[in-house]
Point group: C2
């Protein structure tokens, strides 16, 4: 993978998606090669035109000569287990370009862990040598906010119809945005939304970086260069300031997160070691919480389930 083998990269990503037992070893091996890429997050409510925007930004990045990775996080239905990848069809032009690597991540019925997988795939693309990595999330839930934490620059995309700006605050988007975009700016209310956002941002105490509010029509390729310029400016600002300060905390957070996820994943071993207990829960002979306490208060059961790797 580190020698530029795309097939190897795709295989490693699959291992991460499936949370294979050697994920920590893989990540430990590639970690020394991580940290060179520009990571750009793009989030906002469904229907805001994020995919089209990312499409345009990928095109601009390629024109500059950057190699590009795209991690698209689709919140697939917990029932059907499938993500709808219609948007990605627009990416077809880029699919023929060997310098663009696009991967959609979905939950596939797994619970949680999407923020972890997104971060790790972004690390892989970084180590692989991509210059710019876009991380696009559909939706505005907590998972999406967590994912955006791993981006150096976060673009929040809205549309005039997205509801009033109070909704933006409620969704927690005001605090994570480094660049605001009002897309589909040919529609009614675009400029009003721009003004409202600018006013809200002025109330915000964090003065070191002034968050620009840009109007775009991604579908018509309007306003994209201004977005690229804002991202570039924020990248320069970040390098000189916050990234270096926050990096140690981010590393500790990542350590505790990966360890916590691994310990949590070991709960599956209950199925091997205490099938009897699962059956009792299934039959209703014991409630779920008493069953959990039965494991937690039993040192031998804990050691079996959580025992060290051989």
């Amino acid at each position: 993978m580190l020698r530029g083998d795309r097939v190897a990269l795709a295989k490693l990503i699959s291992r991460i998606e499936n949370n294979a037992s050697d994920v920590a070893s893989i990540m430990a091996a590639i970690y020394p090669h991580v940290g060179r890429a520009k990571t750009i997050g793009v989030t906002g409510p469904p229907g805001a035109g994020k995919s089209t925007l990312v499409d345009r930004l990928v095109e601009r990045s390629r024109k500059r000569g950057d190699s590009v990775g795209v991690v698209a996080v689709d919140p697939s239905s917990p029932f059907s287990g499938g993500a709808i990848l219609g948007d990605r069809i627009r990416m077809q032009d880029h699919c023929l370009d060997p310098e663009v690597f696009i991967r959609s991540l979905s939950t596939r019925g797994r619970r949680g862990g999407l923020a972890r997988a997104s971060r790790q795939v972004a690390h892989l693309l970084d180590a692989f040598g991509k210059d710019t990595i876009f991380i696009e999330t559909v939706g505005v839930g907590q998972t999406e906010l967590d994912i955006m934490e791993l981006a150096r620059t976060v673009i929040v995309v809205l549309v005039p119809e997205a509801g009033d700006t109070v909704q933006v605050m409620k969704a927690g988007l005001l605090e994570i945005a480094h660049v605001f975009i009002v897309n589909k700016a040919d529609r009614d209310g675009a400029m009003r939304m721009q003004t409202e956002l600018e006013m809200m941002l002025q109330l915000h105490p964090e003065a070191a970086w002034t968050v620009p509010v840009l109007l775009t029509e991604a579908a018509n390729d309007q306003g994209i260069d201004a977005v690229m310029e804002a991202v570039e400016r924020h990248g320069t600002f970040q390098t000189s300031d916050t990234v270096t300060q926050h990096a140690p905390d981010h590393r500790v957070h990542e350590f505790l997160e990966v360890l916590g996820e691994e310990l949590r994943a070991r709960v599956d071993r209950v199925g091997t070691h205490r099938q009897d207990l699962i059956e009792r829960v299934r039959r209703g002979d014991i409630d779920p919480y008493s069953a959990a306490l039965e494991i937690l208060q039993d040192q031998r059961a804990l050691t079996e389930i959580l025992g060290a790797d051989e």
Copy 2:
């Protein structure tokens, strides 16, 4: 709490929100009293008018003589840590009614666990004796979908401006809805959206329950009785069918989830037992993944960190 003490209820909910170490014991104690309440989930994109709708539904439920609980899940910003509770101000009338208990849950900077906390608070309100429990989530991310799994009947609220119906599919809402509502139905496009949703639902294989698509204007109190009627009908349908079939799986899922969360939470003990390792990660002397492996491959460290409750 089981004797109807509201202060005791509020205290227990706080313990759950803070994921206190005795949550499993609390839940084990109340579990025998869980299962009587009707749980109704209300979700949809920000700005769809969910809170107003819930407000109306609470009013109707009270008129029938039901006691009511409301769990409102706000995806608070991971940065500011505060939820914006403006919507809840509309609930003030109900606040004076001792038979209505309203609680907003937010992430408060904690990662994940919101689905767990929501489920447990709903269990508490159920055991407390509430007849009907509304669970309202803001946003349409994976966390929100997880939360909706715990409701017996799920209402998905949309507005004509919410984007085309493909967005509904992308957000995974089609599969979780038992009742669709197009709110703010006095606006342009409401009936077109209704028709589109009905067409999409016809493509859907699950034929046992026909998902109704209802038009409402919650702000003007229009169409609410039809929603109540649809929820009632679905409740009857559920009781006779799926709930009883799925309950054993749900219990096992809840068992593994609470155990997994507890094991994950114990990662905090690394701070006590291996402060040295955290310092090495902070300084960059070891990468986060190698540090995680160091713990995972060391039985003594694991036992210290994960040791059984005394």
